[in-house]
C-alpha cells in the first residue's frame, strides 16, 4: 500500500492522512494498521493529564522543546472534547504549542473525542501507533481536562504524568480516588502561585501513604511551564521512570496488558455499533417504539435483542 510506504519513509502528509483515515474509520484503516504494526514499539509514550486550565498544553510544548534539544523527534496528540450536541469541537491545544510550530521534527495532531462508543481511546491508540511507526522517538498524549475518562490515558502511555495546580482547594479530594492513582509522576504546575506549599504538602502526604502501602515513591515535579522552570527535571524523571520500568519488567507488563485491553475495547466498540444497527432495523421497529413509549419494559426488550445478537 502506497500510503503506508510513504508513511514509513517519513512523509509527513502520509502520516497526517493515515491518522484521518483511522479517525474516520474508513475501510482501509485496518489494512494500514496491520501494515504498520510491526514497526511499532520503539517510541516512549508519555501521557499528560490533569484538570482543565492546569497548563497541560503549555507543559507539553515545553517538554517537547526540551526533548528537541537532545535531538529527539516528537509526536504530540492533543485531545479536546467534542460537543455531544453538534459533533463539533474547538481544538485549541495547538495554540499553546507555538515554540514547535515550524519544527519539522515535531508533529502535532489535535483530536476531538467524537462519538461515545469508546472510540476515542481506540483512535488515540491508533494515532500513537502511526506516529510510532513513522519513527517518532517520543510521543506525548495530552488528554482532555478533568473527568473519569482521564484514567484512560494510563492504558496507552508508558509513563503517565498528572498535572495539578495550586488553589484547587477541595478538588484535591475528588482526584485522590481517580486520577491520582494513575500518576507515575506528579506535576505541580504554576508553582509560582499562592497555595503551592499547601498543595505540595498534600501531595507528599499522598505519596508517603502510597509508599507505606507498598507502592513506589511517586516523584513530584514543580514546574512553571511559562518560564521553563522544572521542565528539564521533569524530562529526567520521565527518562528515569522509563529506564527503571524497562529494567524491572514494568514496561513489558504494561504493554502486554495494553494489547489485551485494546483488543477488548475494539471488540466492544464493534459490538456496540452492531447493537445500534440491530436496534435500527425494521424488524425491531415496533418493539423499540413500545419501549420508547414506556409500554414495554427495558429488560424484556433487552433479552429479545440479545437473543438476536448472540444467536
Amino acid at each position: 500500500m502506497e500510503l503506508v510506504e510513504k508513511l514509513l519513509a517519513g512523509e509527513r502528509l502520509a502520516l497526517s492522512r493515515a491518522i484521518t483515515i483511522v479517525e474516520n474509520e474508513r475501510a482501509e484503516a485496518e489494512h494500514i494498521m496491520q501494515a504498520i504494526y510491526p514497526h511499532c514499539g520503539r517510541a516512549i509514550v508519555i501521557g499528560i493529564t490533569g484538570s482543565p486550565g492546569a497548563g497541560k498544553s503549555t507543559l507539553v510544548d515545553k517538554i517537547a522543546f526540551e526533548y528537541r534539544k537532545q535531538g529527539k523527534t516528537i509526536g504530540i496528540i492533543a485531545v479536546d472534547p467534542t460537543s455531544p450536541f453538534t459533533g463539533g469541537a474547538i481544538l485549541g491545544d495547538r495554540l499553546r504549542m507555538s515554540s514547535l510550530s515550524t519544527d519539522k521534527a515535531v508533529f502535532i495532531r489535535s483530536m476531538g473525542t467524537r462519538g461515545s462508543l469508546g472510540g476515542v481511546s481506540i483512535k488515540t491508540a491508533d494515532a500513537i501507533k502511526l506516529m510510532d511507526a513513522f519513527g517518532k522517538d517520543v510521543i506525548i498524549v495530552e488528554t482532555v481536562g478533568v473527568g473519569q475518562s482521564e484514567t484512560e490515558i494510563m492504558k496507552h502511555a508508558d509513563v503517565t504524568a498528572v498535572v495539578c495546580v495550586p488553589g484547587m482547594g477541595d478538588d484535591i479530594q475528588a482526584i485522590k480516588a481517580g486520577i491520582m492513582e494513575i500518576a507515575d509522576i506528579l506535576v505541580v504546575n504554576k508553582a509560582d502561585r499562592d497555595g503551592v506549599d499547601k498543595l505540595m504538602r498534600e501531595l507528599q502526604m499522598l505519596v508517603e501513604l502510597n509508599h507505606s502501602l507498598g507502592g513506589r515513591i511517586i516523584p513530584i515535579c514543580k514546574t512553571i511551564a511559562t518560564t521553563d522552570a522544572g521542565i528539564a527535571e521533569f524530562n529526567q524523571m520521565v527518562d528515569d521512570f522509563f529506564a527503571e520500568s524497562q529494567q524491572n519488567g514494568e514496561l513489558a507488563l504494561r504493554r502486554s496488558r495494553r494489547r489485551r485491553q485494546e483488543l477488548i475495547e475494539r471488540i466492544r466498540d464493534h459490538a456496540a455499533k452492531r447493537v445500534q444497527a440491530i436496534i435500527a432495523t425494521a424488524v425491531l421497529a415496533d418493539t423499540v417504539k413500545a419501549l420508547e413509549a414506556g409500554t414495554r419494559d427495558i429488560y424484556s426488550v433487552q433479552q429479545e435483542i440479545e437473543q438476536r445478537l448472540f444467536k
Binding site: R12, L13, S16, R17, I19, T20, N24, T82, S83, T86, G87, G88, A89, I90, L91, G92, R94, L95, S98, S101, T102, K104, F107, I108, R109, S110, G112, R114
Partner: protein, 131 residues
Amino acid sequence: MENIRVLVAKPGLDGHDRGAKIIARSFRDAGFEVIYTGLRQTPEEIVEAALQEDANVVALSLLSGAHNTLFPKIVKMLHAAGMTDVLIIGGGVIPEEDIPGLKAAGVAAIFTPGTPTAEPIAFIKEFFADK
C-alpha cells in the same frame, strides 16, 4: 460520518481575533472540528498546522490589509506541501476590488464584514456535500 476539519488561522500582524473566535465558535456549532491556531501566524506556521492536522478547510481571517500578499502565498505553499484538495476561504476587511484577484489565486470564497456566519458554513457544507 466524517467530520469536516477546519483550520481557523490569523496570518499577519493584526491583533484582532474576535471575528476569528466568533467564526470558530459558529463552525463548532455547525458540527465542524475547528483547529484554532491563534494570532500572528506566519504562512509557514499555517501551512504546517494544516498539514499536520489534515485540515479539509483553511479559513483565513485577516484585517491588516496584507491579504493580497499573504493569501496567495499561503495557497501556493499549501499546494506545494501536497495539500491540493484543501478548501481555502478568507474573511476580514477586504475591499471588493481585491476579491477577483484572490479568487484567481485560489481562495475559493471571501467573506467580508457583516456576513452572517451561516454563509461560510453553508458554503463549506455545500463544498463537501458530495464528498
